[in-house]
């Protein structure tokens, strides 16, 4: 039974190792937690879980294994939409022409209004059609379909990678920065940004200075210490999480991991799809611990270099419209926040993990590139090199302009027309 519990925990993504499991068995053998189920629960949690972010998952597995509770994922959906409508086993494939035919069905307001209407009208499960809410269809609502302005309801990861409202509070994971594999190249690229200066407490023996001072002292030893050399470049990292970024997580983790070890002054923030009035530092507490973007601008000076990582693939509303965010009501459009960020931090680049050949398929990428004055680079070693070149510009002088730094010119992509 306990072995089953162990594997259930691992399946649920709680990182438990044999060591910890043995510790629990050892504790049980020492006759701990004989009193009650609750005591056993506390003991198992202390032994097996090493991070409060995993408490929730642990609780779910514990409930399931030991009380035979219903699978909680069934509750992921809101009460309005029964889940069996959305179990996407009809994943229809659409041809390019079909996708081309599906046109935007009017503005955001209209979409929301008609969703509400249809939710009220519809009373049964539906798949594959073009009006009702369900899976695999071409209607603008439901999951796994191909209307580019679709609203996603209860799905694992987006198929057409564009959605207007996420109807579930998904649990996001903080990017893991301990990934080492494959980060060497990224580190080498980032290393070009380094600028060394001595800083901090003097705790390194200065051999030259000591010899010199001892000689002057008539041979009596006089030790001299100096501070260690550190990289003094300051970097702010903004990372897109969730939604369409799911398939790029590994690459982002590698970048994050490499950056972590290269820069002493590295601050990271997360956002979803586009920058709005607040960002957060910890995905575990993203709804409680938000930080106003305005405070980020106030706190960090213009000497910081900013790297934004995101695929910029979303509905154009999310950038240009007030209230376009898929998660909350934003008072000001994302574009305005992006402009503020660019104005405050002259040295800013956007790294896009998507293949540059596909950039011109999404209007949102084009809008973002316009906002950035062309400073969007692919998240590859070559792209990173170019981005670092952009970041190394001296602070004085005019703000960076696109001329020649356009990323697509080096990646053999058919250069998309930037109006």
């Amino acid at each position: 039974m306990l072995v089953g519990f162990f594997f259930e925990l691992r399946a649920a993504g709680v990182p438990v190792s044999i060591n910890e499991f043995l510790a629990l068995l050892e504790a049980l053998q020492a006759h701990m937690a004989q009193g009650s189920a609750q005591e056993f629960y506390f003991l198992a949690r202390a032994c097996l879980v090493k991070d409060e972010r995993h408490y929730d998952r642990f609780d779910r597995v514990f409930a399931e294994v030991f009380r035979g509770a219903e699978r909680l994922c069934a509750q992921l959906l809101t009460a309005q939409v029964p889940s069996q409508w959305l179990q996407g086993f009809a994943t229809r494939r659409f041809t390019e022409e079909e996708r081309g035919r599906i046109e935007a069905l009017g503005g955001l307001e209209q979409l929301l209004a008609s969703l509400r209407e249809r939710l009220a009208e519809q009373r049964e499960r539906h798949e594959g059609g073009d009006k009702w809410i369900g899976t695999g269809g071409t209607a603008p609502f439901g999951a796994r379909g191909f209307n580019p302005q679709g609203i996603s309801i209860g799905q694992g990861s987006g198929r057409a990678r564009r959605a207007l409202k996420v109807w579930e509070r998904r649990e996001y994971r903080n990017f893991d920065d301990t990934v080492e594999l494959g980060t060497r190249n990224l580190k080498l690229a980032l290393r070009k940004l380094r600028k060394f200066a001595r800083e901090g407490a003097a705790d390194e023996l200065d051999l030259e200075g000591t010899i010199d001072a001892t000689a002057r002292n008539g041979g009596l030893l006089d030790l001299k210490l100096i501070a260690q050399r550190h990289n003094t470049v300051k970097v702010l990292l903004f990372l897109d999480v969730g939604g369409s970024m799911d398939e790029h997580v590994r690459l982002c983790e590698e970048l994050f991991s490499a950056a972590r070890s290269e820069f002493r002054h590295l601050q990271h923030f997360y956002f979803h799809n586009f920058l709005y009035e607040s960002v957060w530092r910890d995905n575990g507490r993203r709804f409680e611990a938000q930080m106003p973007t305005e405070r980020v601008l106030r706190t960090y000076g213009r000497d910081y270099r900013v790297i934004v990582v995101g695929d910029a693939t979303m509905s154009p509303y999310e950038i240009t419209q007030t209230g376009g965010s898929i998660e909350h009501w934003n008072q000001e459009p994302g574009a305005l926040w992006m402009q503020r960020l660019c104005a405050h931090f002259p040295r800013l680049v956007w790294l896009n993990p998507q293949d540059p050949q596909r950039w011109h398929y999404s209007p949102s990428v084009r809008i973002t590139r316009e906002l950035l004055g062309g400073r969007m680079f692919p998240l590859s070693i070559a792209g990173l090199d170019l981005a670092i070149g952009e970041l190394r510009r001296p602070l004085m002088g005019t703000p960076a302009v696109l001329a020649g730094t356009d990323a697509t010119s080096v990646t053999k992509a058919p250069s998309p027309a930037v109006p």
């Binding site: 990182p15 701990m32 609750q38």
Partner: protein, 283 residues
């Protein structure tokens, strides 16, 4: 192993899950890693365990410049060099220049001691990794004197962290872990009762209501915690404030009196003021 169990003390209210975690760590002689919001009594826990079980306490406070080696021992090469130049006889025995660290002292203790490693996340990223063998086997090797130091009794090790840095997996695997949740209102009442046994129920009720209201304010930089609540109540008692004064009736006085104990940052005070003001006007 010890048959003693930690049950909280007269000054410290321990929840059941905390007691189970502490007792598991004591029984299996593994380090216990404690995390939680600042001010929820992480550091105090070690002091209370040592008081409850009547064991000596060794505290090792970690700073950003702390090195793992400093907890074991340090070789004072500089004084040895000086002594050699001054012709001191002590210079021939290297052991004279080995300075013991907190961990060594705890290992040498005649009874099982409590060792507190406070705020381990302040140190360098590699710091926890450098202590793996020491915490696992409870022994280390002194290279200068070729001596193996082994713990006479495996100390009860309490490690606290404020989550500023992620700790390495290998380190976590060797520890038990407990996250001190922010106390709910019932626990909070018990905690306040322990500290101020003859506080008027009415005042306590009002104070707690205002306290949880302040905590619920979204976007605060630093949420007030248990220790701040206790300070605030101390002030209220010292100033002899009547419970009515805390009741949020007066529109001009939006901020609880003596708020300085609760809100530690002028931006937070400002934010709270604005929110309460907006809220009042909307009513």
């Amino acid at each position: 192993m010890s048959e003693q169990r930690f049950t909280g003390t007269a000054q410290y209210v321990a929840t059941e899950d905390l007691m189970v975690a502490v007792n598991a760590a004591i029984t299996l002689a593994r380090p216990l890693l404690i995390k939680g919001e600042p001010g929820t009594g992480k550091t105090q826990l070690a002091q209370e365990i040592s008081r409850c079980l009547e064991r000596p306490l060794y505290e090792w406070h970690i700073k950003s410049t702390s090195k793992a080696q400093q907890g074991l021992y340090e070789y004072d090469a500089v004084s040895r060099l000086r002594d050699s130049q001054l012709g001191d006889a002590r210079v021939h025995d290297i052991a004279n220049y080995i300075v013991k660290g907190r961990l060594w002292e705890a290992f040498e203790c005649a009874v099982q001691p409590v060792l507190l490693i406070d705020e381990i996340d302040k140190a360098d990223i590699e710091f926890p990794n450098d202590l793996l063998r020491e915490l696992d086997r409870m022994e280390f090797y002194v290279y200068e004197t070729r001596e193996l130091v082994r713990a006479r009794h495996r100390p009860i090790i309490i490690i606290t962290s404020n989550n500023e840095k992620e700790l390495p997996d290998a380190f976590l695997r060797r520890c038990f872990f407990h996250y001190i949740r922010f106390p709910d209102e019932a626990t909070m009442r018990a905690i306040v009762a322990v500290h101020y046994p003859d506080l008027k129920q009415e005042l306590l009720g009002e104070a707690l209501a205002r306290f949880f209201e302040v905590r619920a304010t979204p976007g605060l930089k630093k949420k007030p915690s248990t220790s701040e609540l206790l300070d605030w109540i101390k002030l209220l008692v010292a100033e002899d404030i009547a419970p009515e004064a805390l009741r949020s009736g007066d529109a001009r006085k939006v901020i609880p009196i003596l708020h300085g104990a609760l809100l530690k940052n002028e931006q937070d005070v400002h934010l709270f003021e604005q929110l309460v003001f907006m809220h009042r006007r909307a009513r």
